[in-house]
């Protein structure tokens, strides 16, 4: 394995800035690995060799002329394919957007590039981020590099897979109900969903506007801290973005957790596999040994999360996805009139899961059901928020499983939507409350599959969340062993 693939974003930026490596060589290695592994993983929907090398050369020339390209100088980064970058297609894993090239950059794209990061490609996802396995992509499923017979989780499966396979040190995902944290857990990497409003959503193709939030994947806690520091901040183009600066996250490294009150959420432990629960207890013990005060805490309101989520998210999605009508961009299947064109285009362009959610959401919003479903679900968010607030009067942060199970086999859950939805039970409440939460790789199950621990914090307290993550990193079992055929491909490269 090349030593470069093991370099963290932090190390790359440092080495590029002090000229021990060039951005071009780092990016070349990342591209080579992406190209070598993609036939096995299907993690990337687009690899931008030309654009990435051009951007890397620019970083190198800035360095050569004595300038400073930024905090992520030369760091190869992958974007989930629902974030826009000029010149690269954005498909959202959907046939309806096949070949669509956005004429504008997402705010996160601009921010990353302004700090010298190099976008190497766009990663696979469940169509329009709807799913928990990345099997719902129109461009085929992404596989888990730890075990190619298993899913990487979803919907940001391509980003999780590419980081776990060492192709990029950092990738961005989006998390609407757990779409960063669950694949991070299933692939054995760090995945962060910031506070709603922390990161601008401008240029992120919306799934459920009131829940969507962009966040990083990385191998190390520090790399996620660094990346989030770059992409967080107020954006005039996103009315829902928060206007106060976030404190330093990287500075949390090494800070003591002594005296920190940590709550283990009872409701999320119930229903989780034994090995998952045991990993969580190990983490709790580790924190206790570091001086934290760990208690069990019950937040019964979170039990309502799943129902509320599967009304709110589809409702907003049904409206957000109306614009895919074959008029201005993307696929058009032309009929004899505009209405027929709308129907033909959407029927051909959307996959089964997207149609199912559009149907569910349209139903939940239609007259006669709005009050019973959508309006009620929005009130449940308030209940869940107040449940968390009550908990945070007793503890500083919360821990829980991320997913009730480790990575499951391809096809295992794809026939039963409700069973698939149930796997989001631990992650959804944070989205409904708008609170930050992250997945921290902590242990492996008896099959060698990664198990993550979820750390949850009050709104805007990413600092506390990262302090705990840095503390847990020391006792984590570390990266899982990759699938043999992936190791082989890496060694060949």
């Amino acid at each position: 394995m090349s030593e470069m693939t093991n370099m963290s974003a932090f190390e790359i930026a440092e080495s590029v800035n002090n000229q021990t490596v060039t951005a071009t060589s780092v990016v070349e290695k990342s591209l080579a690995l992406a190209e070598a592994l993609n036939s096995k993983l299907n993690a990337f929907l687009a690899i931008d060799r030309e654009g990435a090398l051009r951007a890397a050369a620019k970083v190198d020339s800035i360095i050569a002329s004595g300038g400073s390209p930024g905090r992520l100088a030369g760091v190869p980064i992958a974007l989930k394919d629902n974030m826009c970058k000029v010149g690269l297609p954005t498909t959202c894993g959907s046939r309806i957007l096949q070949g669509w090239i956005p004429p504008y950059d997402a705010t996160v794209t601009k921010l990353l590039e302004s700090e010298g990061a190099i976008i190497v490609g766009k990663t696979n996802l469940d169509e329009f981020a709807m799913g928990s396995s990345t099997e719902n992509s129109a461009y085929g499923p992404t596989l888990n590099p730890v075990d190619l017979t298993r899913v990487p989780g979803g919907s940001s499966g391509g980003s999780a897979s590419s980081v776990a396979a060492g192709i990029v040190p950092v990738a961005l995902g989006s998390d609407t109900g757990g779409s960063i944290r669950q694949p991070a857990s299933l692939c054995g990497v760090v995945g962060v969903k910031p506070t709603y409003g922390r990161v601008s959503r401008y240029g992120l193709v919306a799934f459920a506007s009131s829940l969507d939030q962009i966040g990083p994947f990385s191998s190390s806690v520090m790399d996620s801290a660094l990346t989030l520091e770059v992409i967080a901040g107020f954006d005039l183009k996103d009315s829902t973005s928060y206007d106060e600066q976030m404190g330093s996250l990287s500075a949390q490294k090494g800070l003591s957790v002594e005296g920190l009150r940590v709550g283990m959420v009872t409701e999320f432990v119930e229903g989780s596999d034994l090995e998952v629960v045991s990993a969580l207890r190990d983490a709790a013990n580790a924190l206790t040994s570091l001086g934290a005060d760990v208690v069990e805490i019950s937040i019964p309101e979170t039990k309502l999360g799943l129902s509320a989520y599967y009304l709110i998210a589809p409702a907003e999605a049904s409206s957000n996805l109306a614009r895919f009508d074959g008029v201005r961009f993307g696929l058009r299947v032309e009929g004899s009139n505009i209405e027929e064109t709308n129907v033909l285009t959407r029927t051909k362009g959307f996959g089964a899961e997207v149609k199912r959610r559009i149907m569910l959401g349209t139903y939940a919003l239609s007259s006669g059901y709005y009050d019973a479903y959508y309006a009620k679900a929005q009130q449940v968010r308030t209940l869940i928020k107040s449940g968390f607030e009550r908990a945070y009067q007793q503890v500083d942060v919360l821990i829980s499983p991320v997913s009730p199970t480790t990575a499951f086999k391809l096809g295992e859950k794809s026939l039963d939507p409700l069973a698939m939805y149930l796997s989001d039970v631990c992650t959804i409440p944070s989205n409904l409350a708008g609170h930050p939460a992250m997945s921290m790789p902590y242990a492996l199950d008896s099959k060698g599959l990664p198990i993550g621990v979820q750390i949850l914090a009050p709104a805007l307290r990413e600092d506390l969340m990262f302090r705990l993550a840095f503390a847990l990193e020391g006792s984590s079992t570390g990266a899982p062993s990759l699938d043999d055929s992936i190791k082989e491909a890496i060694n060949r490269g």
């Binding site: 669509w100 090239i101 004429p103 506070t195 709603y196 009315s239 829902t240 928060y242 039990k303 309502l304 129902s307 509320a308 599967y310 009304l311 049904s318 109306a322 074959g326 201005r328 961009f329 993307g330 696929l331 058009r332 032309e334 009929g335 009139n337 505009i338 209405e339 027929e340 064109t341 129907v343 033909l344 959407r346 029927t347 959307f350 149609k355 559009i358 149907m359 569910l360 349209t362 139903y363 239609s366 019973a372 479903y373 009620k376 679900a377 929005q378 009130q379 449940v380 968010r381 308030t382 209940l383 928020k385 939507p417 409700l418 409904l432 409350a433 708008g434 609170h435 709104a459 805007l460």
Partner: protein
């Protein structure tokens, strides 16, 4: 299997959503949506109508921008992804009725 949603209702919802479903799809969705809504019966039965809704988790209000022109897209850029165009405009098959 409960039948909260009939295939006929499914067909109506599909019409609103501009989707065309086969009979099998309509039946499948009817049963799958019913099971999701069954699961949602826990919140349906809650008596919380006085409770406020969460509009923004952080309670942000009054977000505006100043009324100054920002350059947008050129006509060519605007039309660059259009499936069909004519005379600088997006071209589509005929519109049958007024918007409802």
């Amino acid at each position: 299997m409960s039948s909260r949603i009939s295939p006929k209702e499914v067909a109506h919802v599909a019409m609103l959503a501009r989707l065309s479903l086969t009979d099998e799809e309509a039946e499948l969705y009817a049963s799958q949506l019913s099971s999701v809504l069954d699961h949602a019966s826990d919140i349906e039965s809650l008596d919380i109508h006085d409770l406020e809704v969460t509009a923004h988790p952080l309670g942000l209000v009054n977000r505006t921008r100043s009324d100054s022109v920002v350059s947008g897209l050129s006509q060519a850029e605007a039309l660059s992804q259009a499936p069909d165009e004519a005379q600088g405009m997006f071209s589509v098959p005929p519109v049958l009725g007024e918007p409802s």
